[in-house]
């Protein structure tokens, strides 16, 4: 399959600490790929380095062309959108204002913004009911819906999600991830960072296992039958 995203030797450091050692990974067009790993494995750093929020070395190609390093705006303009860890919603603004900001790059193309808004509301009807409510007053699950909805407003061709189930009750986490599965079935490329491996592996066709800032394995879901299998890979890396 043609590579939508191809990462070659991407590394990132915070001061003297190399949080992400040179890493290679790829996401094919229309593929959902998971990145799994324990706390501190470098999963968030990997996503931030791909979109240019964390300075890094190496090369990232999207749809065959190289993405600029250290310029998150330019990356977003190419259609690579990150839903950050902790959701990054704008609490003092209303749900609708948050969604409108998602379509910031569309400028004043009202027709297209309205069409995207309808698609987001179809996916998350709850957001439509709460349009005028302050985003900060939403429940955790609703905030995650908003974070994903806002990213969809940007019209991504590749969606990067950093632990979308974090802090959610199991039922809500499952629903959020199933929604991502729906998006993927409609052709959207997704790179999903998750700690809840069983949930992510239900959706993903492949997964990269990260430990201590390195990809320690590339696996398919049938290779991970139990948490012990994951632990085996992580311990092998240590």
């Amino acid at each position: 399959m043609e590579a939508l995203l191809a990462v070659h030797g991407l590394s990132a450091r915070y001061g003297n600490v190399e949080a992400l050692h040179p890493t290679d990974l790829a996401v094919a067009r229309g593929e959902l790929v998971a990145v799994l790993g324990p706390n501190g494995a470098g999963k968030s750093t990997l996503l931030r380095a791909i979109v240019g929020l964390t300075p890094g070395a190496g090369r990232v190609h999207f749809e065959g062309a190289e993405l600029p390093r250290d310029d998150a705006r330019a990356v977003a303009m190419r259609g690579v959108i990150l839903v950050p860890e902790g959701r990054g919603i704008f609490g003092p603004m209303s749900v609708r204002e948050n969604l409108d900001l998602g379509a910031y790059l569309l400028g004043s193309r009202r027709g297209e913004i309205a069409a995207r808004l309808q698609r987001v509301f179809a996916l998350f009807p709850r957001l439509k009911d709460r349009q005028t409510q302050l985003a900060g007053s939403l429940s955790g699950g609703e905030q995650q819906m908003l974070a994903i909805g806002r990213a969809l407003m940007a019209g991504p061709r590749l969606l990067l999600l950093d632990e979308p189930s974090l802090g959610l009750a199991p039922r809500l986490a499952t629903e959020i991830l199933e929604t991502l599965g729906d998006l993927n079935r409609h052709g959207m490329g997704i790179l999903l960072v998750e700690q809840r491996a069983p949930l992510a592996l239900k959706l993903a066709k492949r997964a990269y296992l990260l430990a201590l800032g390195r990809v320690v394995a590339e696996v398919t879901p049938d290779q991970i039958a139990s948490p012990h299998d994951l632990a085996r890979y992580y311990f092998a890396a240590a």
Partner: protein, 327 residues
């Protein structure tokens, strides 16, 4: 009932203004200072409230506006309405030049850099005495006017200040609810999240800094023509402290917060004048009480009250599962 209560502060303000114009005297001066500070703080609100940054150096831009007006009108005989735009443009240009490297800093580092800017400009006002008259300051600055005509008295000047303030607040409100205002709010919320959505964070922070500088210079210039005198002390650090107090007491990030904060902070010392030796103590206690009971500023009181009523009227609904559909 709620609508009537919402109008109450505006009614009180209108009555105060009417009384001031009828009675005249010292109250005109107090309200004039309140209006000047309201313009200054409305600008500060752009950078601190809307954009979530910190600046301790806005006094520098007020000084540039004030001194440009003073020097050009007194020393060079320029008309007021030619000197004023030049002062504003000079402050905006300085903000652009200084802001470009400085705004890469965040938090305490940005605060220290802007504090240094304010101190440097004040030091220049002291040392460049051939132009600024040093500590002596520049006096006999002409009042507001145009085409050889000057506003005849303090009441007329206050009316002009209020018109300028109304314009300043209107512009602030329009910008807050514009695409620019939403981008600034996103930056205030999370710079990384804003960047990830394609917002040009560096450009917007710089723009907010320049707008704040222009407002400060406008206030500084209006001050020079309202009072008729400028000196380095006028644009000292106390101006920044007072501006911060007004911003937090009124409500940071709100359109009307700077206006309300400036009015309350200007009137409070006068209110406690009868306390004589205990005036400062009463003023301090009043500030603490306001910030304890209205930590988001006085403008938040109406919202808090409305939220409380809404909460009692309709209990919160638990989040229900969302319906899935194709995107």
């Amino acid at each position: 009932m709620r609508r009537a209560l919402a109008w109450l502060p505006w009614l009180a303000g209108a009555l105060l203004l009417a009384y001031t114009f009828v009675a005249g005297g010292y109250l005109v001066t107090v309200l004039g200072f309140a209006a000047l500070y309201a313009i200054f703080v409305t600008g500060l609100n752009f950078f601190m409230g809307y954009t979530g940054q910190v600046s301790f150096g806005q006094n520098a831009f007020a000084a540039i506006g004030g001194y440009t007006s003073a020097v050009l009108t007194v020393t060079h005989g320029w008309p007021v309405f030619a000197a004023m735009p030049l002062g504003i443009a000079a402050a905006a240009l300085l903000a652009l030049v200084i802001g470009y490297p400085t705004l890469r800093l965040r938090g305490h580092y940005l605060a220290m850099a802007t504090l240094a800017l304010g101190m440097i400009v004040q030091e220049i006002a002291v040392q460049w005495d051939r132009v600024t008259m040093g500590y002596t300051g520049i006096a006999a600055i002409p009042p507001l006017g145009a085409f050889g005509w000057e506003l005849p008295n303090e009441r007329a000047q206050l009316a002009a200040l209020l018109a300028a303030l109304a314009l300043a607040v209107w512009v602030s409100g329009r910008l807050k609810h514009s695409r620019l205002g939403h981008a600034l709010a996103a930056i205030a919320g999370s710079e990384d999240a804003a960047r990830a959505l394609g917002i040009d964070v560096a450009r917007y922070k710089l723009l907010a800094f320049v707008i704040a500088a222009a407002y400060a210079a406008f206030a500084g210039s209006m001050f020079a023509h309202f009072v008729g005198f400028v000196s380095p002390e006028v644009f000292g650090l106390h101006m920044v402290v007072l501006g911060f107090t007004m911003l937090y007491v009124g409500g940071i990030g709100t359109v009307y917060g700077p206006l309300i904060g400036a009015l309350i902070i200007s009137l409070l010392p006068e209110t406690f004048r009868s306390f004589k030796d205990y005036q400062d103590l009463a003023y301090g206690v009043a500030l603490i009480v306001i910030l304890i009971y209205a930590p988001k500023g006085l403008t938040s009181l109406a919202r808090l009250w409305a939220q409380r009523r809404t909460a009692t009227a309709a209990p919160a609904v638990e989040a229900a599962p969302h319906k899935k559909a194709s995107a």
